[in-house]
Amino acid sequence: MSLFIIVALPFLGALLPGLMNTAGRAACAGVTFTVTAAALIGLLTNAPAVLSGQVVTAGFEWLPLLGLNVTLMLDGLGFFFACLILGIGLLIITYARFYLSRDDNMGEFFTYLLLFQGAMVGIVLSDNILLLLVFWELTSLSSFLLIGYWKHLPEGRQGARMALTVTGMGGLAMIGGMLMLGQIAGSYDLSVILQNREAIQESPLYLPALILILLGCFTKSAQFPFHFWLPHAMAAPTPVSAYLHSATMVKAGIFLMARMWPVLSGTPEWFVIVTTAGLVTMVLGAVIALFKHDLKALLAFSTVSHLGLITMLLGTGTAFGAMAAVFHILNHATFKAALFMSAGIVDHEAHTRDIRRLGGLRRLMPVTFVIATLAALSMAGIPLLNGFLSKEMMLEEAWRTELYGAPWLVPALATLGSLFSAAYCFRLIGHTFLGPVRDDYPARPHDPGAGMWLPPAILVVMVVVIGIAPFLAEPFVKLVTASVLGEAAEVPKAYFKIWHGLVPALYMSIAAVVGGLIVMAIFAPMLRLWDAAPRPEAKAIFDRLIAAVVRLAERIALPLHNGAFTRYGAVFAVTVFVVGYYAWSTGTVGPATRAPQPADPVAIAGWLMLVAATLGMVFLHRNRLLSLILIGIVGLMVSVGFVFFSAPDLAMTQITVEVVTIILLLLALNFLPNRTPIESTVLHRTRDAVVSVAGGLAATALAYHYLLRDAVVTPISEFHLANSYKGGGGTNVVNVILVDFRGFDTFGEIIVLGIAALLIYALTEALLNGPVRARLLNRLPDQPRAGDMHPMMMVILTRVTMPVVLMVGFFIFLRGHNEPGGGFIAGLVVSIAVVMQYMASGFGWASARLRYPYHGIIGTGVLIAGLTGIGSWFVGKPFMTTDFTYVRIPPFNEFELATAMLFDLGVFLTVVGAVMLSLESFSRLARRAHMPDVEHPMDIDPSRGDPPVASVPTPAKEGV
């Protein structure tokens, strides 16, 4: 199966669980399982090629100029990780099906899980590092959603935020590092980068690139000092912890270190940074894990510790270390996922994960006991289990590693880490399963159904099989190691054996296990000591850090963004004024190339009215209704002005927008007092006056300047005029520009328009569902109201006008391509026709006759426009290439059909939907409790035969 399909399957499949949600939990989990299984099978079809040492590739160019191409490659390392992700994914999906309760939204969970899975597979199969970064960020986002899946838990939300902050920050750093790496190598393709070891390591940018990339890896893989997010992410449901935080996501950082190992490792910088971070993490994680009482927290810190171990092995920079790391990744994934799932089972059945409240579960949950014990013993490094093998290799590697000139340091710390590791494993077994049966469990523990214990059991079988017969895993691990090493080093010859003879590693191992038993024996006094000792609380530090950053941001942002529009306007106007004046006074000013035209008295009168209305606005703006009326004059005179300058399209647009705006503002004014209160000081107002006068004069000067000169030598309008008919098939240049030349712009604009309308809708919905609802419903009008809600004359008039207006709208739409008009104006005209009905016959009456929801109309419009654009792909043209032809259907005249018209239809529908949705949302706010929506279009309707008095709400009833 093509690599594309393997990566795309989880993403496409992510659509399914949501759809299957209503079909039941089994169907929902089943479809997720099938998608993952299909991807895994697809991966396995590539196994023969990979196992024979080939590298499978697939790719196409996406943004070649940026070096961002969709190139995928599958080598041993990628195959190994993809197997882990998809294979363990299957087990987790099965487990999650039985773990999640009926209250949990399973479709949502599996959607997130598949998104995450796709992103992870994308990371391990990416050949292009920019593509890898995209998937990397996707894992951060999807893991955020998964950790915060239980939205009602504050710990879940906080943990998710913390994880996103830390890993997102690391991801940002990594972007920088990767860009540097790409600059050095001259390509963003891994296959090229991996060939350039010398060039990269000699570059002066090597160290910054290394540090930035390692920041990304360390945050993702929870290395000290970024380890703190992982335990807090344990607020997630257990399947998430088992999947993300043991087997896959936290291994992404390690994967990347392994991927970059051939080019980045082997230098002293790499050795010191990576080995130190790994060692510290390993020891620290193991020590903290011992004293955690929450099963999952214990496992989380043990994961931190084991990730440290793997990091340290990669840090040593030797081939043997890399092989041990690969082997331990495999082993850790098996036993740790099994342990997490066991912890989940205990939590699920006993209703607590607190070790202090558990104990004696051996007799009550025998199956879980066997699974968890085998996995934990493997983690402790007991022979005949797989953890022992890789831990031995780790100790052997540590024995040979010398850090900071002290040959004893690494072996001693590695032994110490193993000692605590063994100790917490023993504590996990001893304090949870052994000991006497208690009678105060929160719930009666018992073994779960096979669906929950089978997935960890399968993993434990692998733990035992690899542990007893390591030669089975050896060829595969060596294959993966070979692809990690690349050409930088040879695969070590060492064989995987249980018995290596009396080597130092064996003594260290024995010391660790015996030490672990001793620690267990003296655990109680140690715990008292630990509890008494002061230690930094990572979450508190993190919270303080975030608070400090927020304060800093506020200190910078708030003075600039204080919410006062006058301040933004003043800053902007003054800046433009100063910069413009500088440009004007230092640049060369050409002579005037045009002569002023004579002004006729009508134009002067119009201009005077504009000026008078504007001046009136300045002095009367505190009266809101009056200023709206004055704006009406401005709009009217501007429309006439547009006609005067031969731009009828603009005039039509202006007048229709004017009407819609006035209706919208009147709807808003209903909730506002009549007068704007004076809120600023005299000084402020003087400042604003000076700034606005200066700005106005400057704008006038600029306009006058350009009226007398040509702005550019050849204006673009000449191109438009020349090509409008030839290329776009329309003689209305304005419309051709909108739907053809700059169709992509228009497409973006209608999407924005639709989003804005939906936002207005969402805001009003939020208001109506919030505490404001009661106040809105019981609000009293601030002035006496006239009696007639829906006067008969207006109803009849608007009813008669409606078809006429619709016809005009239709006409304007159809001929828009060649004569003034088009989808935008037609949309406005039609929505005004509909608004008239709302105003005349009332909200309830009009809504009841609404057949299509406005959201749907917006969506249809955007879809039609988009599909029209996509349509040109099918004839091999770029997005939004238009075509047109002339058809003749008798008895009509020959008329033109252009694909641009279909696009214009999209514009039309979006405009109608957006205008109506925003107006409707506003008028919904004005519903009131004591004013029921009437079914009748008119208050007084003789044809109904009602007694007129009953149906007329009297002014007295309407509340004064």
Binding site: P601, I633, D788
Partner: protein, 95 residues
Amino acid sequence: MMNATALHDIALIVAFVAIGIAQIMAMIRLVIGPDTGDRILALDTMVVNAIGLIVLLGIAQGTQVFFEAALIIAMLGFVSTVAYARFVLRGDIIE
């Protein structure tokens, strides 16, 4: 004896002046009020005059494309007047 074109021109000038003065007077009414009803009516008159101005402009420049703008204003200009009136009378324009 003046010819038709000259008469046409004179008629145009007279019409322009008349409508221009009407527009200015309507505007004065709008400013002095005294109450909101007067102002709304004044604005409505201004809309009517604007239609006239646009038609006259079309005649003066000898083009038909302006008439649609006049049509649109004639057809939809009253909606804002109605909206204002409803606002004054009922406060809520869609109820």
